[in-house]
Amino acid sequence: MLHARRQGKMFSESSSFLKGMMLGSIFCALITMLGHIRIGHGNRMHHHEHHHLQPINKEDILKISKDERMELSKSFRVYCIILVKPKDVSLWAAVKETWTKHCDKAEFFSSENVKVFESINMETDDMWMMMRKAYEYAFDKYKEQYNWFFLARPTTFAIIENLKYFLFKKDQSRPFYLGHTIKSGDLEYVSMEGGIVLSIESMKRLNSLLSVPEKCPEQGGMIWKISEDKQLAVCLKYAGVFAENAEDSEGKYVFNTKSVGLYIKEAMNNQPQQVVEGCCSDMAVTFNGLTPNQMHVMMYGVYRLRAFGHIFNDALVFLPPNGSNND
């Protein structure tokens, strides 16, 4: 009789455990679904495959006349937005001295005024708010003058000439939103770390949505905070602008979220016979996670150090900027 009673007790305990499990799973499922509905709401489009873009073919370039090519080279006007905070000051200095000089215009948007450097004060510490306000400012002021908008953190090193080459012959009246993409559930977004590129059309659509709080809330995410690059993707999705991954003709990523050194180390582990080939694209646009010193080394390594006797017959010509001594 005791045995039966014990069995009965165990049975009721395990059944309550199971009931608890079920309730817990249901609760969890509900929360996840709600979170996703928030993100995916309004997305009537069918599920998108992984989007990727490649640069123009060389044969196609040569079909264009020389004069037209020169005209086209000059027609790329890239405006660079660099989002900075006071703690970034040494990276800020390095970035200011180096690659941003190759943007047609570069401005620094900071969370607060910093004595040492000029910047546009966004008056907020929140990255997403900074990003929104920067995009609004840039569009308001410069929509007539620039046709491509590149946003980065000061940990990123960018080669604007390669960006322009990548964008060559892409119709900026189409909404482009590209960089190094990451998939998070249903959402494909461009990682801030690799740098974010928007065409003027995307900027237009984005700016019309930024004032609509239901579509582009200032406080994204129901329970936990969503990163600013994801928020941007959500916002752009409403406007029919989708993230595209930029790759070269071999499928190598052109926007990189890590430094050259890190990729080299990985290649030394994974493919020791082909380290440099396995590393990175010849026409890489960005690398990330650099120290201020490394920024200067990259400037020298990219814009100056080279092997004599290797000549490139490039279809486009980009002249060095005025007033720079390290390129």
Binding site: S14, H180, T257, V260, I264, Y300, G301, A307, I311, F318
Partner: protein, 373 residues
């Protein structure tokens, strides 16, 4: 009455236990479920896209099938990334300015360091030899039959040059010594040497001023001897003009060179920037990296510069380069470039290099004309 109480207590504890198990169950269920969700819906982050069967952009396996570069320079190994590249000038210089490189290494460093030299810049030498105290047939490395250690460096150097002289004198015009942590840009070395006559007694490197009147060349940054300089150097030990023993390799060699009337050449580029570097780019490019009390500032023969003016665009060597940096330099010099960019420094091709090269180079000149108003 007591029975009811006991019964009651039993039920109370039972339901409390039930509640506890229920609660644990719900936590457990929640946890399992959230893990499952995050696996199925989670970040598919920085990995390259997986190959889909119907995806026209599907990447094929990473094995590009390019053979491991052995001995001969294969200018077309990396075809697809370099379709815009014209290497005529580089190839012409390869034939006209023959350089034999020997790399100072040791048995402990073959796999650690020399291997990466072999995988990167060494292939661009017309001939490369790895010099060790003991022979290694597989690597391959020449055995000098010496001991290892800093105090053996000069002795190894003498034996290495002797070996090169005895076996390969007619195979090259110039003879370059480097360490297994030196990165050498052979194309730029050829450009530098193309202006000089290998029959003249001269040698080049990073010139230091102390102790030797005409200066001597830093060992780590690498130095290169003309054919005539090599002949005189090897001869010096047969005739006892130079001493065999020294614990400072580069200084001893420099003294010997002076005794033999081998000129210490000026290796700076046409704007006066240094080409051979005793450190990695970062140490030279960053102002204040090397403290003002550092020996370097008093050693340099020419006025030392830090910051962007430190280093020529056509740098020949860097030293204290670790394996990762070897590949980084290889990538930055031979792969990554700013498309369409017009370099500020546009040095002329040396006059004595054939007409055919000048023709190829004229295309480059076109860009210069376009660029300069």
């Amino acid at each position: 009455m007591a029975l009811v109480e006991i019964r009651f207590r039993e039920m109370a504890s039972k339901s409390w236990l039930n509640f506890l198990t229920f609660f644990c169950g719900s936590l457990f269920g929640y946890f399992i479920c959230s893990q499952l969700f995050s696996i199925f819906l989670g970040e598919q982050g920085d990995t390259q896209p997986s190959i889909l069967h119907n995806d026209p952009h599907a990447r094929h396996s990473d094995d590009s099938g390019h053979g491991h570069l052995e001995g001969q320079m294969d200018f077309n190994a990396d075809v697809s990334q370099h379709t815009d590249e014209n290497t005529d000038v580089s190839k012409k210089l390869y034939q006209k300015v023959k350089i034999l490189c020997w790399v100072m290494t040791g048995p402990q460093n073959l796999e650690k360091k020399a291997k990466h030299v072999k995988a990167t810049w060494a292939q661009r030498c017309n001939k490369v030899l790895f010099m060790s105290s003991e022979e290694n047939i597989d690597f391959p490395a020449v055995g000098l039959k010496t001991k290892e250690g800093r105090d053996q460096l000069y002795w190894k150097t003498i034996k290495a040059f002797q070996y090169v002289h005895d076996h390969y004198l007619d195979d090259a015009d110039w003879f370059m010594k480097a360490d297994d942590d030196t990165y050498v840009v052979l194309d730029n070395l050829r450009w530098l040497l193309s202006k000089h006559d290998p029959e003249k007694p001269i040698y080049f490197g990073r010139r230091f001023k102390p102790y030797v009147k005409q200066g001597y060349m830093s060992g780590g940054a690498g130095y290169v001897l003309s054919k005539e300089a090599l002949k005189r150097f090897v001869d010096a030990f047969k005739t006892d003009k130079c001493t065999h023993s020294s614990s400072i390799e580069d200084l001893a060699l420099g003294r010997c060179m002076e005794i033999l009337n081998v000129e210490a050449g000026d290796s700076r580029d046409t704007t006066g920037k240094e080409t051979f570097h005793p450190f990695v780019p970062e140490h030279h490019l960053i102002r204040g990296y090397l403290p003002k009390t550092f020996w370097y500032w008093n050693y340099n023969y020419y006025p030392p510069v830090e910051g962007p003016g430190c280093c020529s665009d056509l740098a020949v060597s860097f030293h204290y380069v670790d394996p990762t940096t070897m590949y980084e330099l290889e990538y930055l010099i031979y792969h990554l470039r700013p498309y369409g960019y017009l370099y500020r420094y546009q040095p002329a091709l040396p006059a004595n290099i054939g007409k055919e090269i000048s023709e190829a180079y004229k295309n480059e000149d076109q860009k210069v004309k376009l660029g300069n108003p």
